[in-house]
């Protein structure tokens, strides 16, 4: 829990420890770990497909009596989704929203799609964690299409319905283009829906006053973060270093 620089735990230099041309950003697993830290015990959580699914690995599951327990919702009709099954124990009738084999934990429930989206639309899901192509200054989210055959799934319902929308995303595209922008150029999933953005470089709250940086990786200045961002940022009232265990 002490950040990515413990040489005993990491005898061979971690790539991120080399003199960085790119800033020493969090790995995907570290980002997922960081998101998990902000999910209170007892929450009902829906994880989007892709990187958001990694968040589950960093949350307690299925320990009865543990009030840190999280209950995972899967929009195809499951509350209490557990980890993937061991190979050979897949059941084709028990799949996740990402259509991958799933399991359930004690305390789970099955229901139909109408009830499942009643949970989502009705504000019963405490937190959804979603990926993003772009997030705007006002919390607009674009994560469903960049062209081609349109396919939306449950993304718009989750974006509108969950009490909190956490976005997990690299701060910039592979080409270095900002993903946090003044206005989204990709088609929106929802307008003004994002509450927190977790990137490899920062944790950013979407507030009534705009984007506030809550945490920032240590070897990057606020100005350098701003340079990598297409929207105006301001430092939060209690800005702190963004750290994560090396191998969370």
């Amino acid at each position: 829990m002490t950040g990515p620089s413990n040489p005993i735990e990491n005898p061979t230099p971690h790539p991120a420890l080399k003199p960085p041309s790119k800033p020493r950003g969090l790995t995907r697993d570290q980002m997922a770990w960081r998101v998990a830290k902000d999910i209170p015990g007892g929450s009902y959580v829906n994880l989007g497909i892709g990187m958001p699914e990694l968040v589950a690995l960093h949350l307690p599951q299925g320990k009865e009596g543990d009030n840190r327990q999280i209950v995972f919702h899967s929009e195809n009709g499951i509350l209490g989704m557990g980890p993937p099954p061991p190979q050979g124990e897949e059941d084709f009738d028990l799949i996740s929203a990402g259509k991958k084999p799933a399991t359930v934990i004690p305390g789970s429930a099955f229901f139909d799609s109408a009830d499942s989206f009643a949970m989502i639309r009705g504000g019963h899901i405490d937190i959804t964690v979603l990926g993003a192509f772009q997030v705007s200054e006002s919390g607009d989210l674009a994560n469903w299409t960049t062209g081609g055959v349109p396919a939306v799934g449950g993304a718009m319902d989750l974006a509108q319905g969950a009490r909190q929308v956490f976005v997990i995303t690299n701060h910039t595209t592979k080409k270095g283009e900002p993903k946090i922008v003044k206005e989204c150029t990709y088609p929106l999933t929802g307008a003004g829906v994002v509450t927190v953005v977790f990137t490899d470089l920062a944790v950013i709250d979407v507030t009534a006053k705009g984007l506030e940086v809550r945490e920032l990786v240590e070897d990057l200045s606020f100005e350098e973060l701003q340079q990598r961002t297409g929207a105006r940022l301001s430092p939060g009232p209690d800005i702190r270093p963004l750290t994560a265990p090396l191998d969370p």
């Binding site: 543990d66 209950v71 509350l79 305390g107 099955f110």
Partner: protein, 241 residues
């Protein structure tokens, strides 16, 4: 807290505030959360708006809450019954406001409230006095009335079993309004006959998933309003000249 068990009805209803809208499960005398209602009476909360299919019977449960003068308004489908004397008297003397809603519209408004629906069009009440003042529109050649969701502060619910997280089952026709009410309240408080172990309820048989439940209290031998009313009736008959 994922473990939603609360030791007593008094602790379960703590925090209900004056002026709250309170959903109360039950149809006739099946599914009434009588112990929770009496805990709410003991709490002293007033100026409540209550949603129930009926308006209480005899002097117990919802009728007792009315009789204690705690309810400013009741939203229900059928406030008349052979034993609704408490409500009748309050209504006659102008001490309670009444909104009559068709039973199906009441259930659907609760579900809409729980499901994040902003409003819906129903054919029920078209052409009747209950449609007066409501927005109407023709869709595919049929007339509909616009109805709005009910979203409440609190739901008081009776169920048969819950696991520690609040996955509920019901018993026969005592289910009625409870599942929709569990969805439609900010805080859903449930009395159950039995708290079972986590995993003891087959995930296929859960009727109200735990996400809709906030507090659970076990009342192994709940009062039967029906039994008490029948006793009272027999007593009155016996006492009659």
């Amino acid at each position: 807290m994922i473990d939603k068990r609360i030791p007593t009805p008094a602790e379960a209803v703590a925090g209900v505030k004056d002026g709250d809208m309170v959903l109360i499960s039950g149809f006739g005398e099946a599914g009434n959360p009588t112990e929770l209602i009496h805990a709410l009476i003991d709490l002293g909360t007033k100026d409540l708006t209550v949603v129930n299919n009926n308006a209480g019977n005899g002097h117990i449960g919802l009728a007792a809450l009315l009789e204690a003068g705690r309810v400013a308004k009741i939203i229900c489908s059928f406030p008349r019954s052979s034993r609704s004397e408490v409500f009748q008297e309050l209504y006659r003397t102008g001490k309670i406001e009444l909104e009559v809603v068709p039973q199906g519209t009441l259930a659907e408004r609760l579900r809409a409230g729980g499901a994040g629906i902003g409003g819906f069009y129903t054919p029920t009440t078209v052409g009747t006095p209950l449609a007066e003042g409501k927005e109407q529109r023709t869709i595919d050649g049929r007339e509909y009335v616009l109805e709005h969701p009910i979203r409440a502060d609190v739901a008081l619910i009776k169920a048969e079993s819950a696991d520690p997280w609040g996955n509920l089952t019901y018993r026969m026709a005592a289910r009625n309004f409870a599942p929709a009410m569990c969805m439609a309240a900010k805080t859903t408080i449930v009395q159950v006959r039995e708290i079972v172990d986590l995993g003891a309820t087959d995930a296929e048989h859960v009727v109200t998933p735990s996400i809709f439940v906030d507090r659970i209290v076990e009342i192994p031998e709940p009062i039967s309003e029906a039994a008490i009313l029948r006793q009272a009736e027999r007593g009155e008959k016996a006492a009659a000249p």
